[in-house]
């Protein structure tokens, strides 16, 4: 029966796994456990070491808990009356024992609360620590007084359990917060970063503000790259998800550009520093994240104000409770009722309601490469029901692409070959579309000579010794190119529907026409549909002709459109569309419509992180990340909903709990437990946001190219 292989045994206790083992990956290895307890225990023993500074807090909590549990047990025995029968003379000795056990607990667990309330009091603020300190100290003091005067009403258990429960609550709350900021943390450390610099062959660790452009920086595998730069030596891949929201590793070879904030994965790299600090995209992101975290939303400001007046109100209710009850029942009972009011009131839940959810929401945004300015924007996004789109560069790719070739007395290939031959000398966006179309079809682009571009009209030159021209139809006629009659009607039709027509002619005759169009980004229709399902009205705003606007709006599924608009017109439209009470989001590419984005209630830029820093946009989607828009809106709504639920819970809970306590219906220890629990409910309710589902619109190919696009954009600025 002896089986040496451990495969069928629990990784922790080495017993048989049973029929349904718990599977869990610990430290990258897969393990199976016979029970959940073993799974936890194994993680305790083998998990990586975390938070050594938290040890002292835990030791205090553990020792305090140990003493308090003993106090509680003895007190329970006293209350249950079991000892009355055993020996009534022993009871005073038990009281002394309780007093002796309770004193260290007051010191061990109470001091942090006393200090916090003292610090607050010196600044003229009353906080939750004030309530806890007054509660614990009065219970302890009263019990001591009774102990020395031989009284019977001893409440050491209450004094210590209040402290244990609140310390435990604080600890769990802190764990929850730590979880909440984990996603945001890497985006706060750009300035605190240091790097290994190589000077005269010697490696030195320098902080980011000592590093200068041109220095050589060594980045080991697993390290976060702290500067933008060019790879001098080494092969590796980097994880740029923090900048792009894209989890795919990007290969890096000699001469490639790496971005600050990305993580070097498997090889050591030597980098020549090209930009650092706030000149990097990462630096800008960090800056805006820090600003947003310190920028409370209006709902949070409301909660904070409520929390400030909350403590004095609770103190007054406590005093009123004691005054009322002491005329009805013995003083010790009246004091207990007052104590219950004091410890059941929970300003912490009010204070936690918004910031935790906001930080979690921001973490979710950052995880997908979306940058957002502050909780206020999340809040506004959640409420808005109107959304306006810019066309060029937002819904369409910005570059034109060839959609059709009409030919006459020549093959389509010949038409495109000649057109591309001339257009390769031009910088015009139409020219790019034509040349890339020829390249896509793997055509041999003809050589051209004596090429001359005529602004706004066309381009002319010699190909294979023949005068060739590409351009608008009127201009072509002036160049002496004859127009075949079959083309005349077609051109009129195409132009009236807003498409761009370019004629290609040689040897005195137009042989073909190229039809060019602004291409809708493939994921736009489904994105618009999802947004409309979320109850949003959509509009397209463009400077282009009505024919273009109507066609793009139709194929995108957008309900309304406005054409031939100047940026000023767009601003006016946005203000009038829903009026002051129903403002709109403006989505643009951030290049042409900066002012419009800035004036909109919420401006969303696609792929222009610098806009956030320039304060034109409130939210920046990653390059090609338009498909994230419905997700962004749903997430904002989820965050808002969470905050509202938290606040309702916190307020409702306090009203009910304080009333119960004031009417003498709550025992103080129970009250303290309820209070600590209420903060935790707020924490856990907020942490549900971590499970917020990913994008509802399938990310199309467009997004997966994002990192390269950023690199190319960046390459332009770098060179």
């Amino acid at each position: 029966m002896m089986n040496n292989s451990l495969e069928n045994f629990c990784s922790h206790c080495l017993l048989s796994l049973g029929s349904q083992p718990t599977q869990r990956i610990v430290n990258g290895e897969e393990h199976a456990f016979c029970c959940y307890g073993c799974c936890l225990a194994f993680q305790v023993k083998n998990g990586s070491r975390e938070e050594p500074e938290a040890a002292w807090l835990l030791v205090r909590l553990g020792i305090g808990g140990f003493l308090s549990m003993n106090i509680m047990l003895f007190s329970l025995l006293l209350y249950s009356g079991t000892l009355d029968v055993a020996d009534s003379e022993m009871i005073p000795k038990f009281y002394w024992l309780l007093g002796i056990l309770a004193t260290p607990v007051i010191v061990i667990l109470g001091v942090p609360f006393f200090k916090e309330s003292w610090d607050g009091a010196r600044q003229g603020r009353l906080n939750s620590a004030t309530l806890i300190s007054i509660g614990a100290l009065s219970a302890y003091g009263y019990s001591l007084l009774m102990l020395f005067t031989g009284g019977k009403n001893i409440y050491f258990d209450t004094a210590t359990m209040i402290l244990v429960l609140f310390t435990l609550g604080r600890y769990l709350e802190a764990s929850g917060r730590a979880k909440a900021v984990r996603n945001v943390a890497p985006l706060l450390e750009a300035e605190r970063q240091s790097a290994t610099v190589i000077e005269n062959g010697i490696e030195k660790i320098k902080s980011i503000n000592e590093i200068k452009i041109g220095m050589k920086v060594r980045v080991l595998p697993g390290e976060r790259i702290s500067v933008d730069g060019k790879v001098l030596e080494g092969i590796s891949s980097t994880d740029e998800s923090i900048l792009t929201g894209e989890n795919r590793p990007v290969s890096k070879y000699e001469g490639d550009l790496v971005l600050a904030g990305s993580i070097n994965q498997h090889g050591s790299l030597l980098i020549e520093c090209g930009a650092l600090g706030s000149n990097t995209q990462w630096g800008l992101i960090c800056q805006s994240v820090r600003e947003s975290l310190s920028n409370p939303s209006s709902i949070q400001r409301l909660a904070d104000r409520a929390a400030i007046i909350f403590v004095p109100i609770v103190l007054s209710i406590t005093i009123l409770t004691i005054i009322y009850w002491q005329s009805q029942i013995p003083l010790n009972q009246a004091l207990l009722n007052g104590l219950a009011v004091l410890v059941v009131a929970c300003p912490c839940a009010l204070g936690l309601a918004a910031p935790l959810a906001t930080a979690l929401g921001m973490g979710q945004f950052l995880k997908r490469g979306c940058l957002i300015r502050g909780g206020e924007v999340q809040e506004t996004l959640a409420k808005i029901r109107r959304i306006a789109f810019d066309k060029t560069g937002t819904l369409t790719k910005g570059a034109t692409s060839l959609i059709k070739i009409e030919n006459d007395d020549a093959t389509q290939e010949a038409v495109l070959q000649r057109a591309a031959g001339l257009e390769q000398h031009s910088e015009h966006s139409l020219a790019h579309g034509i040349v890339s179309a020829a390249k896509e079809r793997k055509l041999n682009i003809k050589k051209s000579e004596l090429v001359q571009a005529v602004a706004g009209s066309g381009i002319i030159g010699y190909i294979e010794g023949e005068l060739t021209a590409v351009g608008r139809s009127e201009w072509m006629k002036k160049q002496g190119m004859e127009m075949p009659s079959s083309f005349v009607k077609k051109i009129r039709n195409y132009e009236s529907s807003g498409q761009t027509v370019v004629c290609v002619g040689w040897s005195g005759k137009i042989h073909g026409i190229l039809l060019l169009d602004d291409m809708l980004i493939p994921e736009v229709p489904i994105m618009v549909k999802t947004i409309q399902k979320l109850g949003m009205s959509t509009v397209l705003l463009t400077g282009d002709l009505p024919a273009v606007a109507s066609r793009i709006a139709k194929s995108a599924g957008i309900e309304e459109w406005e054409a031939s608009m100047s940026p000023e017109d767009k601003c006016v439209f946005l203000e009038q569309w829903g009026g002051i009470n129903d403002p709109a989001i403006m989505v643009g590419d951030g290049l042409n419509d900066g002012p419009v984005l800035a004036r909109a209630e919420v401006g969303i830029a696609v792929g222009a992180a610098t806009d956030l820093a320039r304060e034109t946009a409130d939210l920046v989607l990653p390059e090609n990340g338009l498909a994230l828009l419905p997700w962004v809106i749903s997430l904002s709504r989820a965050v808002h909903r969470t905050i509202v639920i938290n606040l309702l819970w916190a307020f409702g809970y306090n009203i009910v709990a304080i009333s119960l306590a004031a009417f003498g219906l709550l025992q103080p220890i129970l009250a303290a437990g309820l209070m600590a629990g209420s903060s935790l409910i707020v924490v856990f309710n907020s942490l549900r946001l971590e499970q917020f589902p990913d994008n509802q619109v399938e990310l199309s190919q467009g997004t997966s190219f994002s990192s390269e696009t950023i690199t190319t954009n960046y390459q332009n600025t770098f060179n």
Partner: protein
């Protein structure tokens, strides 16, 4: 008294389960460089912390059981006063009071069922049930324990024991259910004291030897513990269903 002996024996047999699970911690706490006495002291501290938590939970379960089984007496008073009202409940020698209220009978059946479920878990069945005991804060508990395990101070050892006591464990849950069914603080505590003391010898030994016993032997011992718990559970259920059969 015979019931208490059963509990104590179940504790001893069950401690072979503990050796598997918490024994790892005992080994990790290891040998104190200051000598044997110091090692013993360290492990006594750890086990005291652990058992204190068990007793505390047993006491609370007893109070809860008492509160449930005397619910016909609910009046707008503090729970402390309720406790005072029943100060004459001195039936401490018996596992369950002789005369059972309806609340107490329901409690006994529920607790007994829980114990049977736990014993089945010890036999390796019903593993999916662990989801029921998966608190939201379990990861926090894991992190806390890990932090404490890495700290070398004596007080950390005691604190570790205290937290360790809160780790989910079918054995502990079974006895807590039993404590609740006793519907009395005192007997609830005694049940957990006996169970805890039962686990003492093995856990102290394991700390000293620092080696885990052959898993086949442990497996058999855990079966024995499971049988005891099932027996206790069945007795509890029967008492709930037929209160007049006595014991």
């Amino acid at each position: 008294m015979s019931h208490y002996i059963v509990i104590f024996v179940a504790g001893i047999a069950g401690s072979f389960h503990c050796i598997g699970m918490c024994g790892g911690f005992a080994c990790a706490l290891g040998v104190d460089p200051a000598g044997r006495i110091a090692t013993l002291y360290r492990h006594l501290l750890y086990n005291t912390g652990r058992v204190t938590t068990y007793i505390f939970m047993g006491g609370l379960a007893g109070v809860a059981g008492q509160a449930i089984s005397t619910q016909e007496d609910v009046s707008p008073k503090t729970s402390m006063e309720i406790m005072h009202n029943h100060s004459t409940l001195t039936n401490i020698g018996t596992l369950l009071p002789e005369t059972l209220s309806t609340g107490q009978r329901i409690l006994a059946v529920v607790a007994g069922l829980l114990m049977v479920v736990m014993s089945l878990q010890l036999f390796g069945y019903l593993q999916r049930l662990h989801i029921l005991f998966t608190g939201l804060s379990s990861n926090t508990l894991v992190r806390s324990l890990r932090t404490l395990l890495n700290s070398r101070s004596r007080s950390a050892t005691l604190a570790f024991g205290v937290f360790n006591g809160f780790l989910p464990c079918p054995l502990v849950y079974a006895f807590i259910a039993h404590a609740a069914a006793s519907a009395n603080i005192y007997s609830g505590m005694i049940i957990m004291v006996l169970f805890g003391l039962g686990t003492f010898p093995a856990m102290i030994l394991i700390g000293g030897i620092g080696q885990v016993i052959n898993h086949h032997w442990r497996k058999r011992a855990v079966w024995v513990a499971g049988l005891f718990i099932m027996l206790l559970g069945l007795i509890t259920i029967i008492r709930g269903l037929f209160p007049l059969t006595g014991h």
